[in-house]
Point group: C2
Chain length 463, copies 2
């Protein structure tokens, strides 16, 4: 752990500000350095638990005066070390800023604090007829999802965080507080600061309030699984589904390796072949029609073993199988740890990218199940490694590097939804070249001392 | 017109670069200073017509070296003086960069040059089964629409330019060329530079290539009109439609004053009452169901005189009436010029904002028809004035100022889709306060000499 000069004095000032809600207890520091990723634990020097924007602004001012890095922290579920304290400093844990501040039913929006998780939010929306659809799998905090530009299974229908954040309140590097937008559904009023902070991983400011779009709960939902003779056929069916203009809410692909894991983990008997998990939202009649069209399209592309689920408990069982792929995947190699990575390519290249990646992993002897938000061209690989074998980690990183290079060569991106964090810094430059210099200019303009989540997105940003 | 030192020498260098495609002919300069707005004509010192990104980069480098402002220009249809040469300089007219560079059918995207107009683009897409839905009324260029974050009638279903631009090629203030993103459908790779340049009105860089999302042409379309006893009832019906989860493609409101203009202009016999224009896209069965639900909802809210149009020619007649509101509005006061302005508010406040604005205009003796993209809470007022009467212009600006203040007080924005340009500079600060300082920091970082479209978005940005 990196302990910096003045940390003691700062800790005292922070304690004076928020009393027992500042902690230097070793267990607390260590817990905030860990995440669900393969990246090494990097603990902060102090953890603070503010309750108001004013407290956050004062924390940021104190840290700025002391030259102390500031790392915002949500639910700790990010996958690229996005909230690791790479240069030590003060971790701002938003656990106590987890309230719904306002629900605007007619406007279909909600104002929340960053610490609330997506499941907590949807639980509180239960009686409104509205819901927040973005579902990255983990029960991530809304602040973290905003900062990593999260998306997940329903992005193909409802978009990503970029599309669902209406406005932000942000504490800047010098403690000023701004609102990026009003609550209008759209605006052409100047630069899109909202989208600038969405996905910035806390490197440009600390988000303290988020206004989100909500969507009407569909009157009817229907889900299905369908297996395919190969990855190509499954992807072709997905492309045809999207082009058919029927508004699928989820088009998920699980490869044959992961299907084996799901069967074992959940005691199920799915065919161990590439499988599409589908969902449709709409009126009773619309969902029935969509289901019929989808069955025809998938059948035409060699799909078989169609299984529809309309009742809530049947759908829940089906998605439970899909949602637990992290644990199901880990079960394929007991004791293993997963290097989880993602890329996103134009869907016309997806089958090729998937097949080559599958072959690459297999030929290097890795157990590496794949799941994909195939409607967006986005897929994840869980590379299972022995945590005590450095050569396996090195091999997994090399495999990831080839997967990213393949995706970028196909006009794709090095990360579809996990963010850059610590793990994709070099790949960002491979992908975007000189544009990264523009990002650095923006970073220098908004955080001239480099204290906001240093070491993320860019190399050498540690002050 | 502002003629700056060195303009002659620069003109010579530009002529050497692109020959007869650089012009200082008075008629050409004057034409590029005018727009469809009420703002005074502000002509550039020279107009250049590049054909390649390399030429644009070289033009920008030459202008930067000469300290000459740079103003990108598309179809000249913007409404806030966004492309006026407020400080003179070189106007880059993209008329000769109007090609479709690539259509990716399976990926449902297209790569275009900025000079192509939306109608030209859709004409070229005719055989693909895909279309580009953003429709701001005018046949604007895609570059201009990107730079003003345009939206229009179909935003309620398909989003705005912000949601439909996948990637940009941009020439920076120093002539460097970047790509903001690859062609993946989504990405979490660093700052969202795409969205930073969308809506920046050419003040951060010159856009030379745009990758757009396309959408499948719906197999069936159905449109309808329905009139209401008052604005409140029409807006309440629109809110209920949106909350019903049926995916309306357009929900347009035309007020009683504009309906009078439409009847006179197109020789029609609509009821001269607040009227909703609706459209639904989907399969035959889905559209039929949506139409039925919509009729039930609007009837419940006092709607009557329902008229459905399914055949293409009937729909075309219906939307022709709606689309010609500028000319229909002008017809209400022969010889008048229109001060066209827009705001956007949370839809729960829309009826109140509309009613108060209607009353304000009427009580000040203005003929000022209103049309709105009511599904988004966005509406336009055309304030008809005598172009030779300065007091009428002053009165119209004051009326606009009260409309904006009302919208901002209701948590809305000073411009839903026209941009800031020359006309909304002060209002931007009224709306967003300290956030405008952050925009200025970004501007200073990317255009330190202030040569990119100076005088727009911010006051005092003229070098």
């Amino acid at each position: 752990m990196h302990v910096r000069d003045g940390a003691g004095a700062l800790a005292e000032r922070l304690s004076r500000l928020i009393g027992p809600r500042a902690s230097v207890a070793r267990a607390v520091l260590e817990q905030h350095g860990r995440s669900e990723s393969y990246h090494p634990a990097l603990a902060p020097d102090i953890v603070v638990f503010p309750e108001t924007t004013a407290e956050v602004a004062e924390i940021v001012r104190l840290c700025a005066a002391a030259g102390m890095p500031i790392v915002p922290y949500g639910a700790g579920t990010s996958l690229e070390g996005n909230a690791a304290a790479a240069a030590g400093g003060a971790c701002i844990d938003f656990a106590r800023m987890n309230k719904v501040l306002a629900v605007h039913g007619s406007d279909m929006d909600v104002v929340v604090q960053p610490g609330i998780t997506r499941k907590q939010l949807n639980a509180q929306l239960r009686d409104t007829g509205l819901f927040f659809p973005i579902d990255p799998g983990a029960d991530a905090s809304i602040g973290g999802m905003t900062s990593t530009r999260a998306s997940g299974t329903m992005a193909v229908r409802y978009g990503t965080m970029k599309d669902n954040v209406l406005a932000l309140e942000v504490v800047l590097a010098d403690g000023r507080v701004i609102r990026t937008a009003k609550r209008a559904r759209k605006s052409a009023a100047g630069y899109d600061l909202t989208r600038l902070f969405v996905g910035a991983e806390g490197t440009l400011g600390v988000i303290t309030e988020i206004t989100l779009k909500l969507h009407p709960v569909p009157p009817a939902i229907s889900a299905a699984t369908c297996s395919f003779p190969g990855l190509h056929a499954a992807v072709d069916a997905a492309i045809a589904l999207i082009q058919s203009a029927i508004p699928a809410a989820r088009i998920e692909l699980v490869d044959e390796v992961m299907m084996r894991g799901i069967n074992a983990y959940s005691g199920l008997g799915y065919a161990e072949a590439p499988t599409l998990f589908l969902e449709f939202h709409g009126t009773e009649a619309a969902v029935a029609e969509q289901a019929q069209i989808a069955e025809a399209i998938t059948t035409e592309h060699g799909g078989h073993g169609f299984a529809w689920a309309k009742a809530a408990e049947d759908r829940s069982r089906l998605w439970h199988a899909r949602d637990n792929t992290l644990y199901a995947g880990l079960g394929l190699r007991p004791g293993a740890r997963a290097v989880i990575t993602d890329v996103c390519v134009p869907i016309s290249r997806l089958a090729e990218c998937l097949t080559e990646t599958r072959r690459d992993a297999d030929s290097h002897g890795f157990v590496a199940p794949i799941v994909g938000h195939v409607g967006d061209g986005n897929f994840h690989m869980l590379i299972l490694i022995d945590p005590d074998d450095a050569s396996e980690l090195a091999g997994a990183k090399a495999l990831q590097g080839r997967m990213v290079a393949r995706a970028v060569a196909m006009d794709g991106t090095c990360t579809g939804e996990h963010g850059v964090g610590l793990g994709k810094i070099d790949y960002l430059t491979d992908e975007l070249g000189e544009a990264v210099a523009v990002m650095r200019s923006v970073k220098a303009a908004l955080d001239p001392s480099g204290l906001l989540n240093p070491g993320k997105i860019f190399a050498g940003a540690d002050p």
